[in-house]
């Protein structure tokens, strides 16, 4: 049985936000904070849970949300979903910046020590978008299921220092609010560019299907433009049924 996340009581609703936090819903456990945010709606509604029973990443893949170990939060936004994946990824990166060095992995996973420490998933249904952010905070290796050990990490595993989840949550929400406010002020191009720079992948060689490709550019919507032996290819997801995961070549992996 999960506990109610008392640790968040002091930082909710956030005090320094314009959009985020109009309504705050806090649960001991939900199926998925994104699902709840999409169902409840409301511009800026925050949904926080101590654990998710069906937290997910792309294509319904499970996102392991250990009770009491992370920050699992979604924010609902009404209207356009343009740029929200970039805003979410940059918000997580910036909130983690004071705590530990991270690297953004295209399109929007956050890595520390080469392992996933946080992820962002944006879902859109009807007129509502949900920006879901999951950060592994106080896990030790054994808190992850065996299949994730070696590929997942947490803030405390990297830093060796205790991390206050309340402070991190407040930073996440403030950073997201700042980015979404900027999007609504017409700064899509600047945010896309900052996100693309953070991905640090242009010019790198990657394995794509069974060949080696060079990333030529990140285009206007954030897709990778790959130069392959067969010509130019455009990649909008990191994998799909016909696109195998790109594997590591040198220092670059997808």
């Amino acid at each position: 049985m999960s506990e109610y996340p008392q640790w968040a009581a002091g930082v909710l609703p956030p005090s320094n936000t314009r959009i985020v936090g109009g309504k705050v819903l806090v649960y001991a456990s939900v199926d998925s904070t994104n699902n709840t945010a999409l169902r409840v709606g409301g511009d800026g509604t925050i949904v926080l849970a101590e654990t998710q029973t069906a937290g997910r990443g792309r294509l319904g893949r499970a996102w392991h949300s250990a009770a009491g170990r992370g920050v699992w939060v979604s924010v609902a936004f009404e209207g356009s979903s343009v740029g929200l994946p970039f805003a979410g990824a940059l918000a997580v990166r910036d909130a983690l910046a004071p705590l530990l060095p991270t690297r953004m992995k295209w399109p929007n996973d956050i890595l520390a020590d080469g392992r996933k420490v946080a992820g962002v998933l944006v879902e859109h249904r009807g007129e509502v978008s949900a920006v879901g952010m999951g950060v592994n905070v106080t896990h030790q290796d054994t808190d992850f299921p065996p299949e994730l050990r070696g590929s997942a990490t947490s803030v405390e595993m990297v830093t060796g220092q205790p991390c206050d989840r309340g402070v991190l949550l407040a930073d996440l929400l403030e950073q997201l609010d700042r980015r979404v406010t900027a999007l609504r002020n017409g700064e899509y191009a600047a945010i896309r560019e900052e996100w693309a720079d953070a991905c640090d992948i242009v010019g790198r060689r990657v394995r794509y299907r069974e060949t080696v490709a060079t990333v030529q550019a990140i285009d206007g919507i954030g897709a990778l433009v790959l130069a392959t032996p067969e010509g130019s290819e455009r990649l909008m997801v990191s994998e799909s049924r016909d696109i195998q995961p790109l594997r590591e070549i040198g220092e670059c992996s997808l």
Binding site: S80, R125, A189, R192, D219, G220, I221, G222
Partner: protein, 161 residues
């Protein structure tokens, strides 16, 4: 339009949130689309003829980049009474919520207004596409996992009476 202006236009377009831009100037038309990598088409503009305005492609309203606009229906195909549910964005089409799970819809299914028929993903923006009206799915036009362009028909459907 000289080459320098065209290059400038391409640069601005690449950094914008627009999917498509079409400019007609001095009898020449320039159309830039992000549906394909840096596709550029130029062609003489059709001359307006008496009784008809200048030819206008039946464009849907253009959403900004990544915009998860409600899907739109193409004009009805009078010969079959079918219409289509089109992709609201450039992305990858998924017929089911997760690999191995049943598709949201299959041919013969009757779906109601606002019912989810598929997901289109781009850059981890998972956009649930819903039916804008009650209809019967006649044919799925895209394989799950295939890329789709903005406005590309994904389902042939027969609207309910």
């Amino acid at each position: 339009m000289d080459i320098e202006r065209l290059q400038e236009l391409i640069r601005v377009f690449e950094n914008s949130s627009l999917w498509e831009i079409e400019i007609e100037e001095s009898g020449r038309r320039v159309c830039l689309k992000k549906g394909q990598p840096a596709s550029v088409n130029t062609s003489p503009a059709p001359a307006p003829s008496a009784g008809h305005p200048a030819a206008v492609q039946p464009h849907h309203a253009q959403p900004a980049s990544g915009e998860a606009a409600p899907e739109t229906a193409a004009p009805e195909d009078a010969s079959e009474g079918l219409t289509t549910i089109d992709s609201p964005m450039v992305g990858v089409f998924y017929a089911s919520p997760a690999p191995g799970e049943p598709p949201y819809v299959k041919p013969g299914d009757t779906v109601s207004e606002s019912e989810t028929v598929c997901i289109v993903e781009a850059m981890k923006l998972m956009n649930e596409v819903t039916a804008k009206f009650g209809c019967v799915i006649e044919k799925v036009l895209v394989e799950s996992g295939e890329p789709v362009e903005y406005g590309q028909p994904m389902f042939a459907v027969r609207p309910l009476e």
